[in-house]
Symmetry: C2
Subunit: 440 residues, 2 copies
């Protein structure tokens, strides 16, 4: 029998000192140290299989996610994987529904980030047990099995289980051809590497040329520091990329609602395809107001969207033109499936947030699942790509000519190399020797 | 000069084993151990003053809030109180705006609960330095000084600083008379002690009679376990209290949107004044739909509302008929002031959530501030009261004939007795000796 028991967990507080060279700086996050609260599920599996999971943070506070993973782990330890996977939706409501831990959210912030790491580790382990990459594990599920992975609590007013099932059944048609297309062409990516704040104009020009040469057809720029600077940098980038390449803008929550509308009036001349995170990620009604005002520019958000209940409302309110799922902010694959299905029902393209630590590795699976099983389309869909930190992963993303190619190793591609786990451990690793005073 | 430096912090993981007798059980929280992540700000003040603060949880996970308080504390230690109080709004945006810790929210969940404990400890210390109870410290502020305590980021589309100032200036009139009225009559309370799930009918009848004898004019019942049971218990309570006493119902987030509307169709016959937390606290649009459907019953929510941005939208969407602020869920007095001002602008009565550990002690100050300085009214306003755990506080609430009477000791009435801190410490206290195996 292909089963195993979870016998324990290991956690690591992994931090990369990225703030040293301003990689990843934006208007809200001037000096992040890209980090992962990392968990390994230890099992009694005869092949020695482990489930790996992580949640992404930007430095300080990573220790809180590590601690939260530990606090949640009693819900997993000593249990058999089959008891989870036989009714995956029930597993998910169990791990998000601990009556005391739930108070800390519910379903948001540290406790939900940690839940994401654990849920994704369970999926990683499950896929390894089935000897399939995650996307294929789900591709091979029947619509009924897939829909049973989802807890529909609080979203039944937007999508019923029956409606979800019908979407999945309808998309059975053409699955095989879409898979062939995917293996031939890959899934399109866009790059944020060119557009960070803190880079000089010359560096931006160089990176734009590089991105074009690499085959990218979409480029994203950070805005929100100050309007004059945003306009100057947009102009530089448009000069480099011309009008055939799509330009996106990311304000990283820097504006109030009226301010966002006013600033976009000035930035519209650079023809952005979307404006991302124009204001507080919690402001559904604010996003709706901005979306109405900035048409035909789309409003994109989701990277800080705390759970499926918020995604539901952003969709119901026409506040979200582009749905940017994040693989770690919500509680893992089960919740992501709910969001993908709602996006399909509301006709909203899903363009995942990536970058960080391992987010590209995660979300490629999710966009592939969306394409093969749920939306059935790549139109207006694209995956973020940032060329940071991939070298630390056992099974890093494969990018060719601006496209992601499907991972083939069993699991969820989350696994960080042993030597990197050791070197970048915030408590014991060499990367942080004599540097800790810098982090405050 | 009346100033001091914060030289360090002490934290305690305080838990009361309340699950032993089902005090506080409801449909979502069957067996809570009422807990406090407790912080003491140590100072170099010549009188040895300390600032005490806490955030409330219901057991497991309290350790995460304690750890988060520690993670945030570097933002306070070594700084002078005057540097905070001279521009209190800026202090608040500093403590909620740490660029790395912000990623864990933003402004929600564990990190925001911990911020609440620290911000309230700063206010407790400030009030002690000024030798006033917190409510009086704020009562004595000019409108300009009070409004400067607030960070208006993300709420300017609902209320501008100028509008807030005008509200406060208008309410200067009659302040002195309202204070006199308050000291004579107190502020009305309602009791939830009678209506918990898990109590027998006979116990409920006895508690209803007790509540009436104690002068309470409002009683709240827990619903959401199952409809037939909710109806049976509502009937028992209405039999005991008649029609003169107002009855409120609290579903503790148990229902989906359509389910809430359907269940309230059946429960309407018991004439509830409000239905509290009918669904996910994140579901603004869902609350709006329910509010429209259950009229004239009010929808009450706020106890799990994560921050001012969510309160803003609940008000903008007519989703909230009663605003239930929580003293610890949002980031302390500064954010509460923003919410009270928005509630006044939108004409929504504020009826704080209390109970737990020390929440009654906190919110009496907030309702008094609302009455004296902001709304100027007690109409349709009432403070929750639960008769648990007050004996552990140095300055417990004073309740007479169903009314809260204003606290007179300097500070925010948060301070827990030293012997209770020692006895109920989850790591070292006698209360938890030989009991820890029970908590999972």
């Amino acid at each position: 029998m292909n089963d195993c028991k979870i016998v324990g967990i290991e956690t690591n507080d992994i931090r990369f000192p990225t703030s040293e060279n301003l990689d990843g700086s934006d208007a809200m996050n001037p000096n992040p140290d890209y980090s992962a609260a990392y968990v390994i599920l230890k099992t009694d599996h005869s092949d020695g299989l482990e489930g790996h999971g992580l949640t992404f943070t930007i430095g300080r506070g990573n220790e809180l996610c590590v601690q939260a993973i530990k606090s949640l782990s009693y819900l997993l330890i000593g249990k058999n994987m089959s008891s989870f996977t036989q009714n995956f939706g029930k597993f998910w409501s169990m791990i998000t529904g601990d009556s005391q831990l739930r108070w800390l959210g519910p379903e948001k912030g540290v406790i939900h980030l940690a839940t994401g790491a654990l849920v994704n580790a369970v999926w990683d382990l499950y896929a390894k047990m089935e000897k399939k990459p995650l996307w294929q594990l789900i591709y091979d599920m029947s619509p009924k099995t897939l829909v049973d992975c989802i807890d529909f609590t609080y979203i039944t007013d937007a999508i019923s289980k029956q409606e979800a099932l019908e979407i999945l059944e309808k998309k059975q048609e053409g699955k095989v051809n879409r898979k062939k297309y995917l293996f031939k062409n890959g899934y399109p990516a866009y790059t944020t590497s060119a557009g960070w704040l803190g880079y000089s104009d010359e560096k931006i020009r160089g990176l734009c040329r590089e991105a074009k040469a690499e085959g990218f057809t979409h480029i994203k720029i950070k805005v929100g520091s100050n309007l004059q600077d945003d306009m100057r940098r947009s102009k530089v980038i448009r000069e480099e990329i011309g009008n055939d390449i799509k330009l996106m803008m990311d304000a990283n929550q820097k504006w109030d609602v009226e301010e966002a509308i006013e600033n976009m009036r000035h930035l519209a001349q650079f023809q952005p395809w979307w404006i991302e995170e124009p204001t507080s990620p919690d402001d559904i009604l604010g996003h709706a107001k901005i979306a109405e005002a900035v048409k035909p520019i789309h409003v994109a958000t989701g990277e800080h969207c705390q759970n499926r209940v918020m995604f539901k409302q952003l969709m119901q309110a026409n506040a979200m033109g582009i749905c940017q799922i994040d693989s770690c902010r919500v509680a893992g694959v089960n919740e992501i499936l709910a969001i993908l299905l709602m996006a399909e029902k509301f006709g909203i393209p899903v363009c995942p947030h990536a970058g960080g630590v391992g987010l590209c590795e995660h979300v490629q699976h999710l966009s592939i699942i969306d394409y093969l099983c749920i939306s059935g389309s790549m139109e207006d869909r694209i995956i973020e790509y940032v060329n940071h930190l991939h070298e630390h992963f056992v099974d890093p993303v494969v990018l060719k000519n601006g496209n992601y190619f499907p991972p083939s190793n069993p699991g969820y591609s989350i696994q960080i190399k042993k030597e990197s786990l050791k070197y970048y451990d915030f408590n014991t690793g060499k990367a942080w020797k004599n540097k800790k005073s810098r982090v405050k």
